[in-house]
Each structure stands twice: as C-alpha cells, then as structure tokens.
Symmetry: C2
Subunit: 337 residues, 2 copies
C-alpha cells in the first residue's frame, strides 16, 4: 500500500499523502472529528473559559527509556492545559518529517500518541504532515496544540496568585526525563536504567482539585527544570520562594548521574511532574491526594512562599545555609523535549 520509508511525495498533498493519512494517522488516531478531514475540526458543546496552548517537540533520540516523541508530544500539551486549570478536550498534531524516515517508526510514534491521549480521554482532532528533504530536519518533529475547558465554578491557578505563606509542593522526583534522554543520546553507561517520567498529569491533578478548593499556582517543570519554574513564579507573583534542598525528591541513580556529569538536577527537564503552590492550610490534603495517585507517590512539600525579596528563589542547603538558586544558563541540554 505504501513504501516503507517516507518520501517527499508523502507531504505533497497528492495520492501518497492521502495514503499515509489513511494508513498511519487515521488508522491509529482516528476519531469522528479527525475522520472528516476538513480544513478544521468542528467541536461542539464547548462553553466557558478555554485554555489554549502549543508546544513543539524536537527530542533526540526519538525513543528513550520511558517514552518517545509521540508520548511526549501528547503529555506536554495535556500537562500545560492541566497546569492552566483546564480539562483537555481536543488536541492537534503537526508532523515535520525528514524524507527517508521509516514509516514503521512513524507508526510506532503515532500509536504511542494515541495511548497517551486515551489515558486522558482526549483526541487528536486536527493534524498536518510536512515532509522535508534529507538533511533539512532531523528525522521527526511534532508540534501539538491543545484546547481545554476551565470548569465554570473554578478560579484557575495563575502565577500571580502565589502568596506569602503558601506551601510549595512537587508531585514527585525530579530530573528523570532529562537524564534519561541525555544518557540515551550520549550512549553513557550507568548501572541500571533511568526512565523518563513522561506522563499525562490531568487525572492526578483532578484528584488534587477534588479535595483542595484552591491551587494558587501550578506549573509543570519542563525545560529549565524546577529552578526555571520557581523563578517564573517568584517573578510573576512578586514574591520570594524558599525551598529545602533535602526535601526535594531526586532518585539516587539520577542524582549520581547528575553529579558525574556536573548537572544540577533542579535545572533538568521533567515531563511528568507538577509544581503546586497551595495555601498552607491545604498542603496536607494536596499531598495526601497526590500520594494516593500512582504518578504522585513521591510528592513532597519542598518549601514556602515568602513576601520578600521579590523575584528571588532561595535554596536552603542541608547545612542550613541559604543560597540563591540560579536560573539555568541553559546551553547544557538541547533537544531534551
């Protein structure tokens, strides 16, 4: 029905494009909206406040322990909608494919997208495929966009709502994703395998929201890691944030790998973690809800929001010293997501 590698013709809008669409995309992502193949998907019954987001994924290699670019592209956008306080309702996916990619590889990625989307009960309703000549892209890039509904009776989390006294919670151990990809890419050998934490967090956060009336702020610590997220929150809310180094969960093997490579785990990308800022009165309830969810078992309260100095993030070391937690300078880990 089609050759086993992607050709330029697969992206040209003609017969080959139609074949690829049916054989791979509709076959694995198919749903009533996508099957219509119009210029746009039509969504009905959507009312109220919407969340709208997009993310490009350029991770290399395409497959890594714990995930692949397909799973990542769904989780990333689902988690952004989740962080905005929304329930994901529709996703789009655009593929930029290098000529010569094995169609079986593409299919594996698309199957993985479907599995991640199914986990959340959301569909890819719109898509696009472009093929570029060999050398013009590195195998496969995926850009997803997502649409979510913010429940009508809720105040969505927002960075500026982080308030002095609030507790800072992280939903699990940090740096798994970035280190898993980096180790895979560089062909490094460590004892054991570090798995990416790549996961869609909507249901985990829904469980927290069911028991915690207000989450002041929420962010998923992807590129730039926990450090970047705390900085953004501190800056946008005009508050200081202090975290306890010892309270921040990092798996032992990840910590070892970070130490060997001279990388701060707080600067490394996560793809299945959430940072929550909640009123202290609700911190225990939030932690409890997280601990009861499979993706939140290692959740921990790691710090507190303070009034001043505004925009500053402090790390309290195991020896009690307070040091400034820097924003990552950022040229360490390209193509981690």
């Amino acid at each position: 029905m089609y050759d086993n590698i992607i050709l330029l013709a697969h992206g040209a809008g003609g017969k080959k494009s139609a074949e690829l669409l049916r054989a791979v995309f509709l076959r694995h992502l198919g749903n009533p909206a996508l099957a219509l193949l119009g210029d746009a998907a039509i969504l009905t019954g959507i009312e109220g406040r919407l969340a709208f987001t997009t993310d490009a994924f350029v991770v290399a290699p395409l497959f890594f322990p714990g995930g692949d670019i397909g799973k990542l592209s769904i989780c990333g956008t689902v988690n952004d909608l989740t962080a905005a306080g929304a329930r994901p309702v529709a996703l789009s996916a655009a593929f930029i494919i290098e000529e010569g990619l094995d169609i079986g590889t593409l299919e594996e990625v698309v199957i993985s997208m479907r599995a991640a989307a199914d986990e959340v009960g959301v569909s890819v309703v719109a898509g696009d495929t472009k093929v570029v000549p060999r050398g013009a892209a590195d195998r496969l890039f995926i850009t997803t966009a997502g649409l979510g509904i913010i429940p009508p009776d809720s105040t969505p989390p927002a960075p500026e709502r982080a308030a002095p006294g609030d507790a800072v919670i992280v939903s699990g151990a940090l740096a798994d994703h970035g280190m898993a990809v980096m180790i895979q890419r560089e062909g490094l050998r460590f004892s054991g395998t570090i798995h990416s934490d790549c996961a869609p967090l909507y249901h985990m956060i829904a469980a927290v929201r069911a028991v915690v009336p207000e989450i002041h702020a929420m962010r998923d610590p992807t590129r730039g890691g926990l450090a970047a997220v705390l900085h953004e929150l501190a800056e946008q809310a005009g508050v200081a944030i202090e975290v306890e180094e010892q309270a921040i969960p990092v798996h032992a093997d990840v910590r070892t790998a970070c130490e060997l490579l001279g990388i701060d785990p707080l600067h490394v990308a996560n793809e299945g973690k959430m940072v929550l800022i909640v009123p202290t009165a609700h911190a225990d309830a939030a932690l409890d809800a997280l601990h009861h969810h499979p993706l939140g078992r290692e959740a921990a309260r790691i710090g507190q929001v303070h009034k001043a100095p505004a925009g500053r993030v402090h790390l309290r070391t195991p020896f009690g010293a307070l040091r400034i937690l820097d924003l990552p300078s950022g040229d360490l880990l390209p193509r981690i997501c």
Copy 2:
C-alpha cells in the same frame, strides 16, 4: 541585550529564552493573553461550535516575492478556519529554529506574522520556541494552530454538502504561490516577478457569506492545488465535478513559467485562494461579492457539480474534449508551504 544569532541556549528555557521571548516574541506579537506567559492562554466569552486546525510551515526559502514563512503561517491557518465557516479568534505559533539563525531574520518573520494577524483582527495568544543544533533543521519551521467560532445561525460548509447542480467558483488566479516560491528557490530567471498570492481570506469570504445564504463547501487549494481540492470534494461528497479549462484563471506569466517547467498549474499550491461550491442560484451573487473585494477581483465560475461518476473530476479542454483531471502524483514541489 542579546546576541545577533540564535544559540541553543535560546531554546533551553533559561535566561536566554526569556530574553528572546521579550525581545522578539512579546515585542512584536504582544497582547494581553500572550503577555501572561502561562502554560496556556485563557480565552473567555467563547461559545458554540468551534473550529480547530493546525498547519506546519517548512517553506524554503523563508522569504519570497509576496510573502515569507511568517505571513504564510498566519494565512494558512486563518484560511483553514475560514474554509470551515469560522471566524478566527485565536492562534498559536510554535517555532523550531536552527542554531545560528540571524535574530533579525526571526524578527522580520515575526513582524510579518503580526501584520497578517492584524489584517484579520486575530492574535497569537500562545507560543513555543525550540532551538535545534546546526544541521538538525533548515533555518526555521513554524507550526500554527487556530481556533475559530462558527456563527450560531449558520450551517458550516462541508465537503459532503457539495450537490449536483452546484456551481464551482475559484476566488482568483491559480498557481502564483507555488511558482513564486519555486522560481525564487531555484534562482530561475523569467521576465517580471511572480508574486505569491499569500493572503488571509477571512474578510473576503465574510463578504460572500453576507450575501449568499449557503456556501455548500469551501476549501483553500494549497498543497496539491485545485486538482487535489476538487478530488477531495468529489470523493467526500460522492459526486463528479467538471471544470472548464478556459474558465480557470491563471496569470499569463505563471502559465508561461508552468509550461517551461512542465508543471500543471492546477497542481500548484495557492495560499490566498478559495474554492467555493455554491447553489447555482447564488453563484452570481457570490461572484459579485468576490469581485468587489480586492483579493477576489479575478474570481471566476469554473465549473459545475454533477451526480456521476462519483469521485471523478473532469476537465473540459478548449477543444471541447473531456479529460480526467488527475490527482497530482506529488513529488514535484517540496517545501512550497
């Protein structure tokens, strides 16, 4: 404030990313939703049926007579929403940038996106930027997604509504975009310059909708050109379509270029044209509305929908012969959009 070329650090989520975001993206695309810089933009006051679409843009070269990848990325998504019968309300844009791209080039592209979006009165409310090492992408790819509202009292156009007897209208001359890009890319010399037709069509189609109660089907003939669109419509509606070769507008210089290069202009991508299928009773009113709009001055009625043979597209030649209009085989023109 920033170096004059894109570095890997600009995509890493740290200080450089924040600088680029402010210096280029917020500066030129800034609007209240985007300025919040959350994980997702929050949109309020949206109700009813939504149209949701996405497109990846990989055109080479980035700049061509009549447009650039930025303008293209906005027009493509606006036109898809328009074709779905929607009013564009929000766009997202994700940038995949090759390390080493001149920041001035990126800025020029972003300015051009803003201009095209302003023409329609729509904003880019969500975005993402990834930087890949030299050689992993060709300069710049942009993926946009778009959200539109379908007016509550309207029946949106749909391919399957194309009915026997309907008139086929094209909003202007064909093949300008594809030929402009191809000539620019290959460094070919023709007398005069062929300009891309790249334009956002929302207002033009709104003018038609104001006077024509029902547009049965609508498609913008991008990749694969008019031939691909007519095939899709004929297949999805289970009808035959017959078009008159002589009635199809193609600029003389474009026709000459196509002949010299052995390319069928009906297979070439357009980025500022719409194909409309309307009840014959409304064909004159639709044409009249198009002719009064600057982007529709060369609109023409080019054919008719027939009952059978289902899925077949016929071209009547100037000599009265009827030949099958083939779907483009599709490996002619990569990276045209």
